[in-house]
């Protein structure tokens, strides 16, 4: 996967590059608007991550020009908190998604994955981890012919875990991805939701099926490990 990152703040660019390379993405980084526009026009990337405030040429301007040229690469806008108005403009101009700073790289990764799935045209209706299947249409988990329905929150949460199997996701990351970043971080809503998912998965296990289990990582968060 080729990702183009156009971001002028070195620290932010570093942690994004690091995080995405860890996910085996091939990241190209440009630190100013004009360079970024040049690189984007080549149309050789699968996804473009575009900061709005850039030296040389601002992100919205690049976005507009690219869309006018017919470049339809998925674009994710990065906005600082004080540019919330720009996200609206950006979405109207043809951006596919936006992410407000500060954010978790994990969240960015999830958004990129979702975009690529949508954009690839082959809408993946089933996520599989081991013997466990997640049906995105019926919002249910299936395991060898048996299935249990999930609520929308349970579904988003499990999907997020299944998209990054064997990886620890913190409560904060899960909360942000499923409930949005304005949800009160002091709640135990993630733990309760995980508990319910486990309960539902256990009902499948009782039928003697081997499924992945959601592990708690003490003080940090959760991980879906494949047994």
């Amino acid at each position: 996967m080729n990702v183009l990152l156009v971001e002028d703040e070195q620290k932010i660019a570093d942690f994004i590059c690091e995080g995405l390379r860890a996910k085996h993405f091939n990241v190209t980084h440009c630190a100013d608007g004009n360079q970024g526009y040049q690189a984007a026009s080549n149309n050789t990337h699968d996804v473009i991550i575009l900061d709005i405030m850039l030296p040389g040429r601002d992100g919205l301007d690049i976005l507009r020009s690219l869309r006018q040229q017919g470049v339809d690469t998925p674009i994710i806008l990065l906005t600082a908190r004080n540019e919330l108005g720009d996200r609206v403009q950006g979405l109207d101009m043809g951006a596919d998604d936006y992410l407000a700073k500060p954010f978790y790289v994990e969240e960015l990764h999830a958004r990129i994955q979702a975009l690529l799935r949508r954009h690839g045209g082959t809408q993946q209706h089933v996520v599989e981890v081991g013997a466990l299947q997640l049906d995105c249409i019926n919002r249910s988990i299936n395991c060898q012919g048996q299935s249990v329905e999930l609520t929308s929150r349970e579904f988003s949460l499990l999907e997020h875990l299944m998209r990054s199997p064997n990886q620890v996701l913190t409560r904060g990351q899960l909360l942000e991805h499923v409930w949005g970043y304005d949800f009160d971080p002091c709640t135990n809503v993630v733990d309760v939701c995980i508990k319910r998912i486990r309960y539902k998965m256990a009902s499948l296990e009782k039928a003697g099926k081997m499924v992945g289990a959601i592990e708690s990582v003490r003080g940090t968060g959760y991980r879906l490990s494949i047994r």
């Binding site: 979405l91 904060g172 970043y181 304005d182 003080g219």
Partner: protein
Amino acid sequence: MYFRTRIFAISILTVTAVLALVISLSWSRIMTVELTNLDSRLCMEAKRLIPKHTLLDVNNSADNISNLRDTSLSGSRLMTDLTDKLRVSSPNQLMISVGSVEQGFITAPTGGDVQDVISRLHWVSAEPLALTDNNKANAVCQFAFFEHQQNQWRASLFQASNQQSFIAVDVAATTSQLTSTLQAALIVVIPFSLLLSILGAWFIATNTIRPINRLHKAMDKVTQKDLSHRLPEHKEDKEFKMLIDAYNTMLDRLEDSFRQVSRFTADAAHELKTPLTVLRGKLEQAVLSENPSQLDLNAILDEVGHLSAMTRKLLLLSQADSGSMALHFEPINITELVDELIADMTLLSDELELDCEIEKDLITKGDIVLLKQLLNNLLVNVMRYSLTHKVVTIHARQNESVIEVVISNFCLPILNDVRVKLFNRFYRGEPAYTQGISGSGLGLSLAREIARAHGGDLTLEPSESEVVTMRLLLPIVK
């Protein structure tokens, strides 16, 4: 273009126009009067050309005419007399003739073909002239204008019984004295009046601009000092009083919003201090310990989450204040959002008793991110302050053209003076209620701003002191 110059120009133009109008009207009036006088003089002189006895004795007319020809008309005394009376300078500016109706005119030697002139005239008949003798009531004077040698002449024809006399005079010559007198007067009057009008205009302009200058100086002083000063109103005219009033009102509003902004900033800074202090402490601990545990780092992460949520709320509020809350409108199913909200509530508390009545397919147009934030803020409030084992009611329905979401929960009794402050920013109720409950005090005010930005509203419904009922209204957009 200066206002003063404009006022000056307008005043001068007005005065000059009035002056020109008055002069031309009086000139034409004087001329009309002069011509009327001339007519009556001409008539008198024409009558005098006919000797008295001929008027009395009709039969001797022929003798009289010959008599006249011999004496009066040929005599220069008559001409001198006439030039004097008609105020002309030479006999060439006069024509006279006398005759009888039957025999025609006897031309006087005053140059020009008088007979020819008379035959071409269109007479304007006049009133019958009452003669001094009273027995000749049918004597008439007739008048006419004619051109002779490029000059305008006025002629008078006097007819009494069988006698007639004709007398004509060059108009310009006879009025020349008057014209020159008037011109001499105007040459003095016009510059003088112009000078006066310039002075007057300058006075008007200066007078008009003076209060404006005064105001300008006062305003300069006010803005130099600070927003708390106001313009004095005494000794000003009514219109300027109104202007000063408006300016002072504007200053009031400015000062208010300025105060509000400073207070808001101070409050915000204060509120941000708390999570920052916690964050700093925890980070220091983590640094000091040899290898920080996941628990510490997680606590730090939570605190950062707090900070992010707070700055986001502050930003949205400041956008709402400046009226620039940006919304990405799309159709939104409020029913689904409320269902999600209820699901979250049940996740958050096992002991929660819910009484829900949610109508299907309540669709509005709105910004999904902000509407979720709004509902979240309401939910957070319910979860924080609602008493356990008490019912929380959530009703969502369509009411004519609006969606009405009413959320009601039991809580510790709230006094009325606390109720009115619930939507105030950074207001967190009495310490007794908020004991051990975290929160920024921004949630409700932000929720209301979001509702208003969507063309709806969020209100606190009147209820008993231990119940809080929030009513959210959103427009229905199918």
